[in-house]
């Protein structure tokens, strides 16, 4: 039941650049695959092409091994959920869920039974005669989900399904969707710009940027081994430090980070380090000792704590580096308490966990 896209390209009329450019992806059977990217990255265009709502200029889409590129949306057997819910305003909840079955002219009794079954599934029993305008955002999106599932789709497509919901409902619905998927194992293709959502909910992540696929893989792969500077910066909200290659090492800001051999001298180097991958330690002894430590370990630099904000169990620390750059560090509250650090203190910053990309000069 997998969904495969090959070489998908699409340019909208009057657009300066293509919305998507030769996009390949594979959404394996029975799993949740997420198209992750910032707005304008083309992820929704890909989803709409899979649904048949847009026609690609080039490339093809196959669902369960069948090439559906030329198949109209009503015969693709996909269930789609929209960010705006897209509930039929002039129909009550039950009629909304029944729509796909009634256009297929299924018997009335069967439709009624299926609608009740789905109302129960999405925990909206007894709300069948409500109007969409009488429901909360979370309830509306569950109706939309029930409506999409009613037709027993081969594939479920979710377009920013939690985008219009507030934070609490968003997490609730995310858990609900996860449990639902554990029961149904319906092949799901989701679009989101929220990396937490993508990493938590999906088995496979396809990171998109400016109409192209940057990287595809398991969530932990994407997180731990970003393949491109874009992925490194976008996933995990990393600190970015820019510099150059000098003597085979990346000199970024106040740090000097190891590089594999063969880096071109003078090439631009960019270091990415996530807020919770930065290690800080108190300065052992003011003066000589500190200097000797930073000399021995060039990935370590001295910095000053500029701000220290407690957010729940975590502490967000803003550091000022000697190069005048700022850096954000996140650590558990207990850790910072054990170090007894406060604003204005000087600390040692360890950047060994940084991921460095060297600009490719190969011509």
């Amino acid at each position: 039941m997998s969904v495969i896209g090959r070489g998908l390209s699409k340019r909208f009329a009057k657009a300066a650049r293509p919305a998507i450019h030769s996009v390949d992806f594979n959404a394996p059977s029975g799993s949740i695959t997420t198209l992750l990217g910032p707005s304008g990255s083309g992820k929704t265009t890909v989803l709409r092409i899979v649904a048949g709502l847009e026609i690609a200029d080039a490339g093809n889409v196959s669902i369960v091994g069948e090439d559906v590129t030329a198949v109209p949306p009503e015969r693709r057997g996909v269930g789609m959920v929209f960010q705006s819910y897209a509930l039929f305003k002039h129909m009550n909840v039950a009629d909304n869920i029944a729509f796909g079955l009634s256009v297929r002219k299924e018997p009335k009794d069967a439709i009624k039974a299926r609608v009740n079954e789905l109302l129960e599934l999405v925990q909206l029993d007894g709300l069948g005669d409500r109007w969409p305008s009488q429901l909360s955002g979370g309830q509306r999106q569950r109706v939309a989900l029930a409506r999409a599932l009613a037709i027993r789709p081969r594939v479920l497509l979710l377009d920013e399904p939690f985008g219009a919901l507030d934070a609490r409902v968003r997490i609730e619905l995310r858990d609900f969707l996860r449990r639902l998927h554990d029961e149904t194992h319906l092949t799901t293709l989701m679009v989101t710009h929220d990396q937490d959502e993508a990493l938590e909910l999906s088995h496979h992540v396809v990171v998109m940027n400016e109409g192209r696929v940057e990287q595809a893989g398991a969530p932990h792969d994407i997180y731990d081994h970003p393949a491109t500077p874009f992925v490194a910066a976008f996933v995990g909200g990393a600190n970015v430090l820019r510099g150059h290659v000098t003597d085979g090492r990346a000199e970024v800001g106040s740090f000097s980070v190891d590089l594999p051999t063969g880096a071109t001298e003078g090439a631009a180097a960019t270091a990415f380090v996530r807020p919770h991958d930065v290690k800080i330690a108190p300065v052992p002894d003011e003066g000589t000792a500190a200097r000797s430590v930073t000399n021995d370990a060039p990935e370590v630099a001295l910095a000053k704590i500029e701000r220290l904000v407690r957010v729940g169990g975590m502490v967000k620390v803003t550091l000022k580096l000697p190069s005048d750059e700022s850096m954000t560090v996140e650590m558990p509250k207990s850790e910072i308490d054990a170090l007894s650090l406060s604003e204005g203190d000087r600390v040692m910053v360890d950047l060994r966990q940084a991921k460095v990309f060297v600009e490719d000069y190969a011509i």
């Binding site: 649904a51 048949g52 949306p73 789609m80 509930l87 729509f99």
Partner: protein, 276 residues
């Protein structure tokens, strides 16, 4: 507190303005019609030529509503849902019937379909009479009342958006089913608005119809032409009575429009139940 005073003055100005411009003529018309008594009005309206004139006006309005509802909805659909070269020019040209004087519109139809017009000889050879007969009057009425449905339905379509239609497509509805079951219910209030405005405008049309009718009395006379001719013949009561009848029909249409708009403005759920 200067604001309440300024507001009161403004409200007063608006009230006086509306009463004088809209109210006074209607009052004058009513008084004029009934000056010779209620019986005279009834008698004037039940005369054969006035009954046929009124019926003809209603027939022309019905044709205009039917044609403009179907083609107006299709035009609005194409103009809002599709993107093509020249779309904005087409969108702007929908308003041309509002911009051109009806008399000029009538003249254009004479130039097209008249005996010496572009299609004149061809029509004559085929034995089809358009100008100086009802087809030309129907064409003129359709033309002058064309923009209403297109405008109202376009607005409704833009407001409704495409998400519901997209959702219906993925759920298995053909494009025709999507139109009947999703799009039409969503634009129903706008469409009704357009239809009512079209019929009011069609009933009131005079200039274009006068030019294309060629002034042949009785054969093809509308209510408005009847008023014009009756005044010319110094049959004042007949003119007033017909004018009053036309005004009453139009007011009824505007009343219906008011109700539709009020319902649309209030609870959307209830409106849809009522309109269903």
């Amino acid at each position: 507190m200067t604001t309440p005073l300024r507001r009161r003055v403004l409200i007063g100005v608006v009230v006086v303005w509306v009463v004088f411009l809209v109210g006074a003529p209607i009052i004058a018309l009513t008084v004029g019609a009934f000056s010779s008594g209620f019986g005279a009005v009834l008698e004037a309206l039940s005369a054969t030529d006035s009954v046929s004139a009124l019926a003809f006006s209603l027939a022309l309005a019905t044709i205009a509503v039917a044609v403009n509802t179907v083609f107006g909805t299709i035009a609005a659909w194409v103009l809002t849902r599709d993107r093509f070269r020249g779309r904005t020019i087409l969108l702007a040209s929908v308003d041309i019937p509002f911009a051109i004087s009806p008399v000029v519109v009538g003249l254009c139809f004479i130039l097209l379909f008249g005996p010496h017009g572009w299609f004149g000889p061809w029509l004559k050879a085929a034995g089809i009479q358009i100008v100086f007969s009802w087809p030309a009057m129907a064409l003129a009425t359709v033309f002058v009342s064309l923009p209403f449905v297109v405008r109202e339905v376009s607005l409704a379509l833009v407001e409704a958006g495409t998400d519901e239609e997209d959702a219906a497509r993925t759920l298995g509805a053909s494009s025709l089913a999507v139109f009947w079951r999703i799009t039409l219910p969503n634009i129903r209030a706008g469409l009704l608005n357009g239809v009512l405005l079209t019929s009011a405008r069609a009933l009131g049309e005079f200039g274009a119809v006068l030019v294309v009718s060629g002034g042949i009395a009785e054969l093809a006379e509308t209510g408005t032409l009847f008023v014009f001719r009756a005044l010319d013949d110094r049959r004042d009561v007949a003119a007033y009575a017909m004018a009053l009848a036309l005004a009453a029909i139009t007011m009824a249409i505007l009343g219906a429009l008011f109700v539709v708009r009020r319902r649309a403005a209030h609870s959307p759920v209830r409106t849809r139940e009522v309109l269903r």
